[in-house]
Symmetry: C2
Subunit: 137 residues, 2 copies
Amino acid sequence: MAGCVFCAISAGEAPASLVHEDEVALACMDVHPINEGHVLVVPREHAASLAELDPEAGAHVFRVAQRVAGGLRESGLRCEGVNLFLADGEAAGQDVFHVHLHVLPRFEGDNLLIKPREGFGRPDREALDDLAARLRL
Amino acid sequence: MAGCVFCAISAGEAPASLVHEDEVALACMDVHPINEGHVLVVPREHAASLAELDPEAGAHVFRVAQRVAGGLRESGLRCEGVNLFLADGEAAGQDVFHVHLHVLPRFEGDNLLIKPREGFGRPDREALDDLAARLRL
């Protein structure tokens, strides 16, 4: 899509430090890394959101991310753990509206905090069953 | 695996509020939700880490998570966005050592904070190219 940085990278029209590319997806270094070694996995076909994403492209993005995670652990970079993270929608922190999965190397004391909503207690089984019924696929 | 809560759920031997199950994966409500509607997608076969996970099971976990995300947006629960999140390793915040992908409904003002490492600046292209070369698949 015109004006989309990930479409431009996919087309070879914008610079990127590529870790992987195949017909369906590419992986490149994030230019705003949270930790050293922060990689993005991006489906080539433009999809602004999960709702627009071809499920098979999504499945492949996960395959690539799993391989990148393995590579990070073997890279010699400081990587004692890995987070996979995807933001779908502005309320979830999405900033570039072409789906992308973050692969984040983690280490003890890196100060990356994921802070839960305050005051949200543990629901009982009945409440969970009610929610499950509403969400059943 | 004996003593693993997700293996017990998969075998029907521990309670769970199921959203989905198929031959490869299941989805259930998290009993320690961060937001209302917090779902976990779990491969049935025990894998403590991404390194142990069958890549095709991983790809399927993502397919299920994408469908759960769509369901959350249509559920009537407050869901203006969705995060997918996976913690691999203790340093990444993993607490249950059977791979699971979180599907988190998000909304404006929910106060879920993801706080980057302080003082980690934007690297230049040369630094990113060097990292990409180390991580190339």
